[in-house]
């Protein structure tokens, strides 16, 4: 995959979302900053690429902890001007834990400040190319994507991956969002996208294939919201496992009871007692090859 000059793509893992670094004569700009516990490596990657030059700007596609967890560390080091989705401005300004997702999901994100906001229709100059800001509601109601018509490149965040898309979080709380996912996929289908830089996983060029899989996945989830709920619980526990590497089942049961989104999702959809829920999710992750069980301790693998 030949990327345009001025664009560097750091493929990270699942705990940290991918980072895209743009450099031209005017500015150096990083799109998304990974998870907080990886911030030191994120800073090292940026320093490695920029050398003596500073990081002028940070842009976040959305404010989940795996996309903006490095903001605080990068701001502390570089003083980077930071742009976030406009709809999140008040929540970040006040650091309103009831509106931001970190407490609800049991995830970490150090407080950061912002200087500007972005919304659908805005135009950006990144790496000497013109990019458009597009709304991408569904996975997150305020998520944005970035599209470069000249290069046919789409930075899709978690709205479209090579195989599917991110958890449809609003639905976990009973807020309708499957139609929003569909609209966002329809929007992508209507663009001339020749390569997608997703929030997780490698760059892919079979955009039609990815859209076909995403629409099929959406149909499967929307047919029974329990499926999205079960997937959401598994993903949040796997995220915890990536962060902690190993968790005892008794501790997992307590954590799942204490994490507000998991507790409400259990009340609304799964309706299991704490211990049964922890055992269920452990079995699901083991069956999927995403974890292993050793003496009542769930280990990442």
């Amino acid at each position: 995959m030949n990327l345009p000059p001025g664009l560097q793509f750091f493929e990270r893992g699942w705990l940290s979302a991918n980072n895209i670094l743009f450099v031209d004569d005017e500015a150096s700009i990083l799109v998304d900053t990974g998870y907080s516990s990886h911030a030191s490596q994120t800073l090292s990657l940026v320093q490695h690429a920029l050398g003596a030059r500073g990081l002028d700007r940070i842009i976040n596609t959305h404010l989940h902890s795996d996309h903006c967890g490095g903001n605080a560390a990068l701001q502390a080091h570089y003083g980077s001007h930071t742009s976030i989705p406009r709809a999140e401005a008040a929540a970040v300004h006040d650091w309103n834990e009831d509106l931001l997702s970190y407490r609800a999901t049991g995830q970490q994100c150090p407080r950061f400040a912002f200087d500007a906001t972005l919304q659908s229709g805005d135009a950006l100059r990144l790496g000497a190319c013109d990019w458009q800001v597009l709304a991408a509601p569904g996975h997150d109601p305020h998520s944005l994507m970035l599209y470069c018509p000249r290069e046919g490149l789409l930075i899709s965040a978690d709205a479209l991956w090579e195989n599917g898309f991110g958890v449809v979080f609003p639905e976990l709380e009973g807020v309708a969002a499957f139609d929003a996912v569909r609209s966002t996929l329809d929007l992508i289908a209507g663009l001339d996208v020749r390569a997608v830089i997703p929030g997780h996983g490698p760059i892919f060029t079979d955009v039609q294939g990815a859209l076909k899989r995403a629409f099929a996945r959406l149909d499967y989830l929307a047919a029974d919201p329990m499926r999205n709920a079960q997937n959401g619980v598994k993903v949040l526990v796997k995220f915890r496992l990536l962060e902690r590497r190993a968790v005892a089942l008794t501790e997992l049961a307590q954590w799942m009871r204490d994490v507000p989104l998991l507790a409400s999702c259990n009340r609304r959809y799964l309706q299991m007692d704490d211990s049964a829920l922890a055992h269920w999710v452990a079995q699901q992750l083991v069956r999927a090859g995403a974890a292993r069980l050793e003496a009542d301790c769930l280990m990442d693998c």
Partner: protein, 63 residues
């Protein structure tokens, strides 16, 4: 064509003594370039990783 999968295991912490990530054993340069590397380059990186597990912490420790 199927690309080799990233060896990242979400540890993502550079070890100053080895210059390698504690999780995937790649250098910073290898991590930075992975996303745009060719299949052959990725395979070369993957082949180099197992041998690094046993390497002494420092190659130039004063004697």
């Amino acid at each position: 064509m199927e690309q080799p999968a990233s060896p990242c295991i979400n540890v993502c912490r550079m070890n100053p003594a080895t210059g390698l990530c504690d999780g995937c054993l790649r250098t910073l340069d290898e991590i930075a370039s992975w996303g745009s590397a060719s299949t052959a380059q990725k395979e070369n990186i993957l082949q180099a990783l197992p041998g690094r597990r046993q390497q002494p912490i420092s190659q130039d420790w004063p004697t």
